[in-house]
Symmetry: C2
């Protein structure tokens, strides 16, 4: 069962291109906040805010070691979003398959029961 | 190869909870705009705007038949988002596996070549 609040937070977090750029970079390894900020065209304060949204959504984990905050991807968060998408796609595809069967098959008021396999 | 503009449009579209509710409903079947709007707590005009964003992102296709606009999910759009997520997760997991191998294995300056299988 998916928690809808969690799904909402994850898709909200992924809806921003700077936050996706952070996820993209962290998929290649753990990184400090200042290293993360370098190639991004936004202030360090903005990076920290984006990280907070990502952390609250469960997509990223950060840890302060001495004076450096280290950031790490949480693959489970990505998995929640993948599952949401593949479940919706699966529902649609199964519906489409059943529609195809109905169009192919003969008219019948009730579904024909399947033959039971010998036990 | 993923088109980054397409990925941006898809995640931007999925970042809104009303648009995800539309995707959710369309995963269960084709629907008219007014049927789609019924359970949503927003105006019909807002639903039309959300549909436009979803259509431009490639997640939904709409077609006007007579006076009714019919809406249908485009599963390929969901697939693009799934692929983006699973590729990021895959990169992270492979990196993590390699790190585990490095920590487990003995120190060696060069990787040991694998034995060739007999052909």
């Amino acid at each position: 069962m998916l928690n809808h609040g969690a799904v909402d937070r994850i898709f909200h977090a992924l809806g921003d291109s700077n936050r996706r750029a952070i996820v993209e970079r962290l998929s290649r390894g753990t990184m400090s906040v200042s290293d993360l900020a370098k190639p991004l065209d936004i202030t360090l304060a903005a990076v920290v805010q984006h990280l907070q949204v990502l952390e609250e959504s469960g997509l990223v984990r950060t840890e302060k070691i001495g004076r450096v905050r280290s950031c790490q991807l949480e693959p489970g968060g990505l998995r929640v979003a993948e599952d949401w998408l593949s479940n919706r796609r699966g529902l649609w595809e199964r519906r489409f398959d059943r529609l195809g069967e109905l169009l192919d098959g003969p008219e019948r008021p009730n579904p024909t029961p399947r033959k039971k396999a010998k036990t």
